[in-house]
Symmetry: C2
Subunit: 236 residues, 2 copies
């Protein structure tokens, strides 16, 4: 945790913040916060900065924050992800949040097991905690929006144009050619399940303007593929 994130409702009228639970434990046990220390903090959805520790005890951490910095710039990338297995979802959500992805759509696909949609990882509170881990890691404060869609075709046909009216649409697909140069628009990047998209899915996405490109000849874990693709879309 490189940033202690608090929420608007943690702010009290006197300008101090009171934290408990996981963040309190982390501050005490890992950061060894003591009265007078300065911690890096951020307001969820807002600015970052430092906070003076006014009180650090077993039951509460009281801070006086001074929020003067903008969170890090965002790359302008959204993800359309075939819903990964729960274990992989636990890794890709923090990774995507740490990379500054703005929106993640978790969609069904032919090679996604139906049971994944019943996973407790998909509960809103679980998704939120996993995203917060990524924000804390990258010192960001803005939670990505996460949408879960159990039906692939209606999502593609009825929602994509509204979600990404102007985006450069790309679909990672083995064997396709290298991607066109990134243009200044937002990118909507589709990444398939481990077994890949089936032809029907590629065709349906291509009909909506998703241009197939390859991430190379290697089958990567989804969290590695997402980080690799975001690096590739940035270039050096």
């Amino acid at each position: 945790m490189n940033l202690l994130i608090f929420q608007p409702e943690d702010l009290r009228e006197d300008g101090t913040v009171r934290l408990s639970g996981r963040r309190l434990r982390h501050a005490l046990e890992v950061l060894r916060a003591a009265e007078g220390d300065l911690l890096r903090v951020g307001l969820l959805g807002g600015q970052t900065g430092t906070a003076e520790v006014l009180r650090a005890a077993g039951d509460e951490l009281v801070l006086r924050p001074s929020l003067t910095e903008a969170p890090p710039l965002r790359p302008g990338i959204d993800l359309l992800l075939a819903l990964p297995r729960p274990k992989a979802l636990r890794k890709v959500l923090p990774a995507a949040a740490s990379l500054g992805v703005d929106r993640i759509v978790l969609v069904n696909a032919a090679r996604v097991e139906k049971s994944y949609f019943e996973s407790r990882v998909l509960e809103p509170e679980s998704i939120r905690e996993l995203l917060l881990l990524g924000l804390e890691q990258a010192r960001d404060t803005r939670l990505p929006e996460v949408l879960v869609r159990e039906r692939f075709r209606p999502f593609v046909e009825d929602e994509i144009d509204a979600l990404w009216p102007l985006a450069q649409r790309l679909i990672a697909h083995p064997g396709a050619r290298a991607a066109p140069a990134r243009d200044p628009r937002r990118v909507a990047l589709a990444v398939g399940p481990e077994g890949g998209w089936v032809p029907f899915e590629v065709e349906l996405l291509a009909a909506r303007g998703f241009e197939p490109f390859t991430l190379g000849p290697r089958t990567l874990r989804v969290e590695v593929a997402v980080a690799y693709a975001l690096g590739a879309l940035r270039g050096l």
Copy 2:
């Protein structure tokens, strides 16, 4: 596991292969291998292909391999990594192997805790198993070479020129400028500990031709940073 990897010593004189242990269990429990099935296999350090299952039982899996394909192309990248904490090392080794990194040097740095060098993750058998997971994932067969160096300065001063005589040397460092275009040479990419390299380390590496460049304003987990950097070095 997308590739069942066997070793030269698993090959018997009649051209068949006998597997036990983790690979046997995976073949039976996950792939549900049965007599007559075709599995994707690879010879460690060699070709890949398919294998007919001759026998699949609780005690052994007997295969007849036909190795006709080259493993996937490699990006020509070596890593110089400040030794990550054991939990992170368990993630970055499979990720790096899956991405086709050829050599990984795990080096000490000011912000690396000494105790990390005593971790059991660093035992050769453990490193090998973690790398194999990455190869199985990416259908590759070539184990990266891993070197562990407990002293930073002697490594940099005495070994780097011999290890990477002709490589393009790059060091990821926050606040530096974007990297120069990648040229056709091998890349040696230095990635620091989570807290970053200290100035002395950057200077010592810069004196050996490591050009500082930034991976962006975000503090990334090492396994995410490595995948992101490899994507960025490739470009799309």
